[in-house]
């Protein structure tokens, strides 16, 4: 096992898959010699050259669609959008083309592309560089959706995403790139659709993903000091979602808190709460609670920005309020 940063684990996943399969290539803005804004593709240009690590003009709609086109003819493109906010420019190609092609072609064609992007608040980057927009992809049939929280998960899930035959939206979090964790030296894959119980517990279930996993784990430690054992489920993959894992935990704890950074209104938390209520109403001792981002564009000022995103305190409070 080596300690690796999240961004380095991602890079290793891409590197290994590019070595393994000549049909894999990367495309995006400043990902070549510069190595990408968050350095995920650093050094890959040196190893694989400009034919497989391709810098683009600022033409998001088109180069995302190009990735889909290349995927249909047999390549496995990894396209990078610098901020998930900018993915809004490419929504037609994602939603109307990539997500639907397999279905509309009657199963003839596949679109094995990965759209890597990055979201979240925390760096005072204001309203157009801080969003959590996963719910927009979550709602679209034909897309898979992955949001890892650790270097280990990031590597294993990115490799699986690259090998998957469907379009996968893979959303990283800007506050995770520099976090470290253990990553095995040998190759491994993590299947899409499997949640990970990051902490076992018997009193309450915390369901979360991406950066909020770290906050939930911290909250769980604080709660443990008060004698409350929280189980922390990191979904890792949002589509397909590991409902069995959630339902099994709720059956055990009877209490559910869903935590995500995205705005509460229309966030994925509603879907999870509704699903659990539909499937396990009588396992619940208390109504499920959603702790989520505020319904607001993210403000620039750090003191305001921090109010928009759930804090460890918010999570602890929510669990306490369940009694």
């Amino acid at each position: 096992m080596a300690m690796l940063k999240y961004r380095d684990a991602l890079r290793l996943a891409i590197k290994e898959e590019m070595e393994r399969d000549p049909l894999v290539f990367c495309i995006g803005e400043g990902i070549g010699e510069r190595g990408g804004s968050y350095k995920v593709t650093d050094q890959l240009y040196k190893q694989f050259g400009p034919g497989r690590v391709i810098d683009t003009p600022i033409s998001e709609a088109s180069f995302v669609g190009m990735a889909a086109g290349a995927a249909i003819v047999g390549n496995r493109p990894i396209v990078e959008i610098l901020f998930v906010d900018f993915a809004c420019l490419a929504m037609d190609q994602v939603i109307n083309q990539a997500a639907k092609y397999h279905f509309m072609s009657g199963g003839q064609g596949f679109v094995p592309m990965v759209l890597r992007t990055q979201g979240g608040a925390g760096n005072s980057l204001a309203a157009q560089h801080s969003q959590s927009l996963e719910a927009l992809f979550y709602h679209i049939p034909g897309l898979k959706l992955v949001m890892p929280s650790t270097p280990y998960d990031a590597k294993g899930l990115l490799k699986s995403s690259i090998r998957d035959s469907d379009p996968v939206v893979f959303i990283e979090h800007k506050l995770l790139y520099m976090t470290e964790g253990e990553v095995p030296e040998q190759e491994y894959l993590i299947p899409l659709g499997k949640a990970d119980v990051k902490r076992e517990g018997t009193d309450v279930t915390l369901v979360t993903y991406s950066h909020m996993t770290l906050k939930c784990l911290e909250a769980a430690e604080r709660l443990a000091a008060e004698g409350v054992e929280a189980e922390v489920i990191d979904l890792r993959t949002l589509v397909p979602m590991d409902r069995d894992c959630i339902l099994a935990s709720v059956k055990k704890t009877g209490k559910l808190v869903i935590v995500h950074e995205a705005c509460k209104r229309g966030g994925i938390g509603g879907d999870i709460a509704a699903m659990v209520v539909e499937e396990a109403f009588f396992d619940l001792d208390r109504p499920p609670v959603r702790i989520a981002g505020k319904n607001t564009p993210i403000p620039f000022s750090l003191n305001l920005e921090k109010l928009c995103v759930p804090s460890v305190d918010d999570i602890v409070e929510a669990v306490r309020s369940l009694g």
């Binding site: 669609g65 990735a67 249909i72 003819v73 390549n75 009657g106 003839q108």
Partner: protein, 320 residues
């Protein structure tokens, strides 16, 4: 005109006529409610699909539009399976999931029609990037019309194809309308191929109703594409023989314009070439008969095919 040319002309004529008759037959079926949804006929524009695609190798890719039946037929698709797709039947190329606006056939290198105007341009450009990546000599043709050329993806993609020197031909089927909006109302340019200069690539504007001239004009763009010199922007000027879709009477199209373009019907143009090449009227009648038969069979096949299975469908989507 030599024998090779006469052969080529015969084939072109047959394909163009097949498109024409296919559309007419399908329109008839639409009126009978056997075809539903949107239907955008290619009637009047046949020379473009025929001229461009005859110049391609069978494994060159095309990417089509909402007005895509002509491209599919010119690419050699089985008219029975195209018609069945229009009928929404299980036997169609897309098993009835796609319909008129989404006919595709990967086996014959047609990435498909598209319901989003301009939506196919990035897919085509990406396919060309895929070909370059693989070191293949396959070329991609991206078809679209005047309306699509005002969409942002046109600009982004032609620019990227230029800088990456991708093996692609952008073919603007300028039929002078985007639904009811005349091209003069949505751009100040006369020749849309002039936009090639914005990207530092060659452009040409052609008579879009003359399949032979189009065929001949493809040689240089295809050569460029195959040797890695990059894309070409090709405008083919043409005109719809009717409204935007079946249910649009096209009342906004000036009668004189329509008459002028109908007098220059792409099928007639090919027929005149055939006559000039010494092909006899009898031979032409034989082709016509063959076409009529093929189209009749396509309608029959589609009519008799089963609806897609609901059970299979529900199973198929269970994992989505």
């Amino acid at each position: 005109m030599n024998e090779a040319n006469a052969d080529l002309l015969r084939t072109m004529y047959q394909v163009a006529l097949t498109i024409r008759r296919f559309e007419e037959a399908a329109i008839g079926q639409y009126r009978l409610w056997n075809i539903r949804g949107y239907f955008h006929p290619y009637i009047g524009e046949e020379a473009i699909a025929v001229g461009v695609i005859s110049a391609l190798q069978p494994d060159d890719y095309i990417v089509s539009t909402h007005r895509g039946h002509g491209h599919a037929i010119a690419k050699g698709h089985d008219t029975r399976l195209v018609m069945a797709e229009l009928f929404g039947k299980a036997t169609g190329y897309c098993k009835g999931r796609g319909g008129s606006m989404h006919v595709s056939n990967l086996g014959q290198f047609n990435l498909g029609a598209n319901g989003i105007v301009g939506g196919g341009i990035p897919l085509a450009t990406g396919a060309a990037m895929g070909m370059k990546q693989k070191g293949s000599r396959q070329v991609v043709v991206s078809f679209f019309s005047d309306g699509a050329s005002n969409n942002g993806v046109f600009h982004e993609c032609v620019n990227m194809a230029a800088i990456y020197r991708l093996p692609i031909l952008y073919v603007i089927e300028n039929n002078h309308y985007a639904v009811s909006t005349p091209v003069e109302q949505s751009t100040l340019l006369r020749d849309l191929s002039k936009r090639s200069e914005s990207y530092g690539i060659p452009g040409l504007s052609l008579d879009g109703n003359d399949a032979l001239r189009i065929y001949q004009a493809m040689a240089e763009p295809l050569r460029r594409a195959r040797v890695g010199e990059g894309p070409t922007l090709i405008e083919c000027k043409t005109y719809r023989h009717g409204g935007h879709h079946i249910n649009d009477p096209g009342a906004y199209m000036p009668k004189e314009d329509l008459a002028r373009w109908k007098a220059h019907d792409p099928i007639d143009v090919l027929r005149d070439y055939l006559a000039a090449a010494g092909v006899t009227e009898a031979a032409i009648q034989t082709i016509k008969a063959r076409v009529e038969e093929e189209v009749a069979k396509a309608v029959e096949f589609a009519s008799q095919s089963p609806q897609p299975s609901e059970v299979d469908f529900l199973q198929e989507i269970a994992s989505l």
